[in-house]
Each structure stands twice: as C-alpha cells, then as structure tokens.
Symmetry: D2
Amino acid sequence: MFHFPVQIYYEDTDHSGFVYHANYLKYFERAREHAIGKDILQRFWFEDGIGFVVYEVDMHFTAGAEFGDVLDIRSSYTWESKYRLIWHQEVWHDGGGKAAVNANVHMVCIDRNRRPIPIPHILE
Amino acid sequence: MFHFPVQIYYEDTDHSGFVYHANYLKYFERAREHAIGKDILQRFWFEDGIGFVVYEVDMHFTAGAEFGDVLDIRSSYTWESKYRLIWHQEVWHDGGGKAAVNANVHMVCIDRNRRPIPIPHILE
Amino acid sequence: MFHFPVQIYYEDTDHSGFVYHANYLKYFERAREHAIGKDILQRFWFEDGIGFVVYEVDMHFTAGAEFGDVLDIRSSYTWESKYRLIWHQEVWHDGGGKAAVNANVHMVCIDRNRRPIPIPHILE
Amino acid sequence: MFHFPVQIYYEDTDHSGFVYHANYLKYFERAREHAIGKDILQRFWFEDGIGFVVYEVDMHFTAGAEFGDVLDIRSSYTWESKYRLIWHQEVWHDGGGKAAVNANVHMVCIDRNRRPIPIPHILE
C-alpha cells in the first residue's frame, strides 16, 4: 500500500466549493508515479521510449474535498495480465471512516509506435 | 443524441503527444452542460442553489486524440431513478468507425446543503 | 481584430466562484490558435516540426467571470521583430464597458531542436 | 525567501514535451499558499470570508521543464501598499545558473462582497 499526500489549492476546486471531479484522476496519477519512482519513469520515457497509458477507469465519489484539505491517496495494484496492471486507488480524509473517492485504474505500457508491450517488472 | 464539438489545443495534450486522459471528463461535462443549456444551469445555481454532481464514472479508452483534432462528443442519457441520471457519452473522430473513448457518467442533484434532491425534469 | 467566444464551465471556476486566474492564458491561446488556423498549426507541428512558444506575458485583471458567462476574447498583434510577435488580447463581457482582463503575450517560433526561427508569415 | 518543490507529472506537460506555460501560475500560487500557511488561509476563507486575488502578473520564460523534473519555486515579496503585495517568484532547475521562469504577481485581498480590504499582516 502506497501513501501519497495531496494538498487542495484554489486550482483544484470549482465554484461549488469542492474539488472538481476530473482532478482526482490527476492525484491518482501523481500517486502512481511516486509509487513507481520518477527516475524509472524518466529512463523509460526518455531512453527507451516506453510510456504508460490509462486504458480504463472506474471511479466512485462518496465525499468531496475542500480548499486546504490534505488528502491521503492510497494505492495498491494487482496484475490482470503481463500487459495490464490494475491500480486500486482511494482518497482518504484525515480521520475519515471510509474512502471519499475510490477508483480502479487499468494501466498498459506502449512503445514508441504506441504498440502495447508487456509491463516492465518494476513493481515486483 | 446530443453532439458537441471539442477542438484539441496545446493545453489538452501531454508530453506523450496525445490528450491527457483526465481531460475527457471535462469534455463530457461541457457536452452535458450544452445538452441541458447554460441558462437553466445558471438559474438553478445562482437562484435556486441547485448543483449537479458526478457520483460515479466509468471510462474506456480505445484511441487517442492529437493537437488540432476536432472531436465529436456524443451524449445521451437514461434515468436510473428520479435521483440519478446516467449519461452515456462517447468521443468520435471525424470518420472514425468506432468511439475513441466511451463513458457512463452518473449524475445527481444537490441543494445548498449538499443534500440529494430529485433531478429537475429539465431533460424530458 | 479577431473575436473568439469562450463559455465558462465548472472546470474553469475555483472555490471563490470566479474563473481561476491561470485559465485566462488558456483562453488566450485558444483564441490565437483560431486566429492562425488549426490546419496551418498542425502542418507546422507535424510536418515541419515548428512550434509556437510563449516567451513573455503580462496580464491585468479588472473583473472576474462566473459559471455560464460567455466571454469574447479579442486579439490583435504587432510584430516586434521577425522573431517575435506580440499579441494584445482582451476578455470582454457581453455589454461590458471595458475589458475584464487584458494581456500582452509575446510569441516566438522554435524548430525541432528548440532553436528560435523567424516566425512564418502566416499572419500577414 | 521561501522554497517550494514542484515535481512535473504528465498533467503538467503538453505535446511539445515541456510544461504548458499557464501551469507556472499554478506552481506560483501553490508556493504562495505554503509561504502564508494553509491554516491561516482556511481560517480567512471559511471563517472571515477573506480571499486572495491576483490583480496583475508579468512572467518571463527562459527555459522549459520536462516530465520528472523537480523544480524549486523561490518566492519573496514586497509591500506596494497596505492593499497590495507583490510576490517575486522564480522557477529554478536543480543546479541551474539562472531562473528558468521569473514572475511578479500582484496580490490583493477581498471580503465577502469582493471589495478590496487591507491585506492582513500575516506575512510580517
């Protein structure tokens, strides 16, 4: 289980006073990148031409988040196949009894020609 | 079926050269707002304190989009209950044989106290 | 003088109820891309490897914009040199007596190696 | 002088491979919020109805930033008057000889009715 903190700034909220729903996908991606490690991701991208692509996502919203909140993004994953990794990601408020948002994010790897390749075994 | 065009600008893409995945949720929301009509949405929000909230979403990515593409966002909906509307939304490339992205977006309505209320019959 | 309309969606606003200040730079860029024309920009980018880069910007905020507003982005330009084009861009509300936001955006052109090149004479 | 680190994710870049210019305004705002402190900002906003608004900005771009870079946002400020604070903010690469981006951001404070008020003496 990986933990990653996200603080909510003006940019994250909308006129309802709460975080704009699409932004949670950004927080989930930031958390995945920290779980994998930026040095590995940079090497893959700039040297090997390997990128990570979101193939499918489902997301459930239970509670909102407001300006100044510091959220805990919790991430774990399961291998669906050697070509597909499913991340299980949740947003938790400090002291919250259950996840405010939870999601499953299916990730694949592609080469320079955008062809799917087996996901490198970076996470095992 | 509602159609709404979205042109892809620098802001929409990421360093992979394609549209950043979270941005499709923005295009879907723009399309829903045009389907409902901004005058109705403004009146609800500013006069009645009624807002629309995304409660759940699933999204499937089949093909990417690049700088300068003009996408056709196709939207229809079904009533799940009087409290929940499910939008079926797709992204089509000009001349594409199938949707590049498809999604189901579950929408609820809330009042000033963020309590769920029946969705106004604006779409019937 | 080029005119380009921008409608304000949930995504554009922040918890103050008004458009988040950084977003105006996005509207200005959308307006410039329409003024130049996407076909030209696509050809430059995908065939010639020529991109446009913002080199300098100043921006003044006089009034905000809210959910549902449709803004008129007004753009004109002057040549500073053959390497630099200055766009004068303003945001107008319908019926407004003066610009809500005004900006000068300095644009340069770069080749594949990110070296500055003379700006193609697309705008004359 | 306040230092604040920003890591560059997919969301920050555009199809040129570099950070999208408008995003630097977000980094500057994050840095200012950390310099002031989120507890103070939350209390102002939620209890006193006081918000901070950007009134004017100028920004200069000297070098870009890429995926995986960790930037150092350096912020200081001067009082222009009791109503206006000018932040001097810069983006530095690790080991860089000069700022990649530098900006002056003029900040004012407004009350619930969006009338300007003297800036609280939180920073002295």
